[in-house]
């Protein structure tokens, strides 16, 4: 759906995006993580055909963005990090205006407006002026606007920025619905745990370079070099701790009551072997899970490197 090849964007001597490569399949939800000024917004603006790349290629559904921006815009829905609204336009007129800008017929605009206002829970605000809406409502309206032409690829730059927790939850719910609708989404956010829940893959961008890209767990392992296992036991905790300490792949053990957090250096087969070992030694294991990586941890690790 989206293919970015050797993308470079320079402003004079400053390189904002440095040889970035990325590929998204249809239905992927890709989270862009990185410190401020890392090049996330620049990359997203280039994909949205709002900025010309210095070099490199952006292909959206096989169409070259710099050669055929109008056709690419048909396939993209873009929501910027900062945006304004027109005074004196009502919610339905606002949607209708952008629908016309995408060349939709009047009947289609009306149908899509009703569907999308329902999706973002703004149906009862249809005839109200846009500038009277709260910030969270405006963010949801902007998301609805970006969907007016039914795009296949959504580019969402900090869609939940400045929202209160309730509004963030509502936005998360909408994004989950879009995920179910099989939309391909490229999203950046600082609300990292929400991104982690939502995304199929994560990309970490630092000083314009995509330093890590893949599933969150894989990134965790590559950065920290270890997996955290959470093991809950019925009893015999001491016996289990002693047994685990003897294992060469176990690096550290933290415990609280019957729940142990084990820092483990092995792969998936090693984890299965470890579970078998515990059971063979008669230790009653209630649960044995690989802890989902904390994106905050990854983010801090990466930005710590970036600060050095």
């Amino acid at each position: 759906m989206l293919r970015i090849v050797n993308l470079v964007k320079k402003y004079g001597n400053f390189t904002a995006v440095d040889n970035l490569n990325l590929e998204l399949e249809k239905g992927d939800i890709y989270g862009f993580v990185g410190p401020n000024g890392a090049g996330k917004t620049t990359t997203m603006r280039i994909v949205a055909t709002l900025l010309e790349a210095t070099s490199g290629t952006v292909l959206v559904d096989g169409i070259n963005a710099s050669e055929n921006p109008v056709r690419v815009r048909e396939k993209i829905g873009y929501m910027p990090d900062f945006f304004g609204v027109y005074d004196n336009l009502k919610v339905d007129e606002y949607m209708d205006f952008y629908g016309s800008c995408y060349g939709l017929s009047k009947a289609e605009r009306s149908k899509r407006t009703n569907e999308l206002l329902e999706l973002v829970d703004l149906r009862d605000k249809k005839h109200e002026y846009v500038d009277t809406l709260s910030r969270g409502m405006k963010q949801r309206l902007c998301l609805a606007r970006s969907l007016i032409h039914n795009p296949e690829l959504l580019i969402l730059d900090e869609p939940a920025s400045g929202m209160d927790p309730r509004a963030r939850l509502e936005m998360k719910g909408i994004l989950k619905t879009l995920k179910d609708m099989d939309k391909t989404i490229l999203i950046s956010s600082h609300i990292l745990h929400e991104l982690a829940e939502l995304c199929t893959s994560i990309g970490i961008i630092e000083r314009g370079r995509l330093v890590y890209s893949g599933r969150l767990q894989d990134i965790m392992r590559r950065i920290t070099g270890k997996t955290i296992l959470e093991i809950t036991l019925l009893d015999k905790t001491d016996k289990a701790v002693n047994l685990l300490r003897e294992q060469p792949l176990v690096e550290d053990i933290y415990g609280e009551d019957n729940t142990l957090e084990v820092s483990f250096n092995g792969g998936e087969q090693d984890m299965a072997d470890l579970l078998r070992l515990l059971i063979n030694h008669g230790i009653p294991v209630l649960s044995f899970t690989r802890e989902e990586g904390s994106l905050e941890e990854v983010f801090m690790e990466v930005t710590r490197h970036a600060d050095r």
């Binding site: 055909t49 010309e52 109008v70 945006f83 609204v85 027109y86 004196n88 007129e93 800008c101």
Partner: protein, 298 residues
């Protein structure tokens, strides 16, 4: 059903809706016509006080009618020069300030569509002001001396001037990020076109007449005056055959068969077209101007 490019441009539809909503537009028109009416009334009172009446000679009445007509024409011209930059100089920079430009550029609407949409929607207000002043101007017909042809010529020139000044405003609004800056620079440009070009033109005419002996057999209008709409207006309002250039004893050069105001209008139209093309190029984020609007979805 598609009904032509102008009517189907979403920017025009939306901005007209916003502009016509509420009392601001109606109040603006009322104030505009109020100023013109006041000027006409003052001149009419001056006509009464100089002991002329409806029984005066036809020539005296025509002279009075012509004076009122010239006064109204000059005031309307000044108002167009004042109002047009305010309407156009914030069109694109205003979108940038409101952070709505990116949302617009990310749609299928072309840079040509955006610039024309902005120009036509702001010009429509100026056009409305010009058209609503026609009945007021028509009162001059009661005095005689002014023909409908004269007035048609004047109103065509108004529209061309408004279009040219509007294009300058649009051009600066694409060039500068801030509306205040683009508005100020537009007014400065108009000031230069209006006043500085006359000073320069007068200087160039004086050079033609001085220092060369014998006098040039065919002195021409300096080029700098062709960009000045005020001189075009003067040409329209001068009643002598041949207009302003004949009055000054100048030839208008290679386009000598045409009236000065027509050449002036042509120059303004060419400059305006160039400024609009540059604006379209400037606003386009990927620097490829698309003159075709995308096909309608089915």
């Amino acid at each position: 059903m598609r009904t032509g490019k102008v009517r189907s441009n979403p920017i025009i539809t939306s901005e007209m809706k916003i502009k016509m909503r509420g009392w601001r537009t109606a109040l603006g028109i009322a104030a505009y016509l109020g100023v013109l009416m006041l000027i006409g009334f003052l001149y009419y009172m001056a006509f009464i006080q100089t002991n002329m009446s409806w029984n005066s000679s036809v020539n005296a009445r025509q002279e009075a009618g012509m004076q009122i007509y010239i006064a109204l024409a000059v005031v309307q011209f000044a108002l167009i020069l004042l109002i047009t930059p305010a309407q156009t100089a914030g069109t694109v920079s205003g979108e940038r300030e409101k952070q709505t430009l990116d949302l617009l550029l990310a749609t299928k609407i072309s840079s040509v569509g955006i610039i024309f949409g902005k120009l036509i929607s702001s010009m429509s207000y100026i056009l409305l002001l010009i058209i609503t002043s026609i009945p007021l101007f028509s009162l001059v017909f009661l005095f005689g001396g002014v023909t409908p042809g004269d007035m048609l010529q004047l109103f065509i020139f108004y529209m061309i001037t408004a279009f040219a000044v509007g294009s300058i405003g649009i051009f600066y609004s694409t060039l500068f990020k801030r509306t205040v800056m683009s508005t100020v620079v537009t007014y400065i440009t108009i000031f230069f076109l209006g006043l500085v070009s006359v000073i320069l033109g007068a200087y160039m005419i004086s050079i033609q007449y001085s220092g060369t002996m014998p006098q040039p057999s065919n002195p021409t209008v300096p080029f700098v005056l062709y960009i000045n709409p005020a001189v075009g207006l003067a040409d329209i309002l001068v009643t002598e055959p041949g207009g302003f250039s004949t009055l000054l004893g100048l030839s208008i050069g290679p386009v000598g068969r045409l009236d000065f105001w027509i050449v002036n209008s042509m120059v303004m139209l060419v400059v305006a077209a160039m400024l609009l093309i540059i604006s379209m190029y400037k606003i386009n984020p990927v620097r490829r101007i698309s003159f075709k609007k995308g096909k309608k979805r089915k």
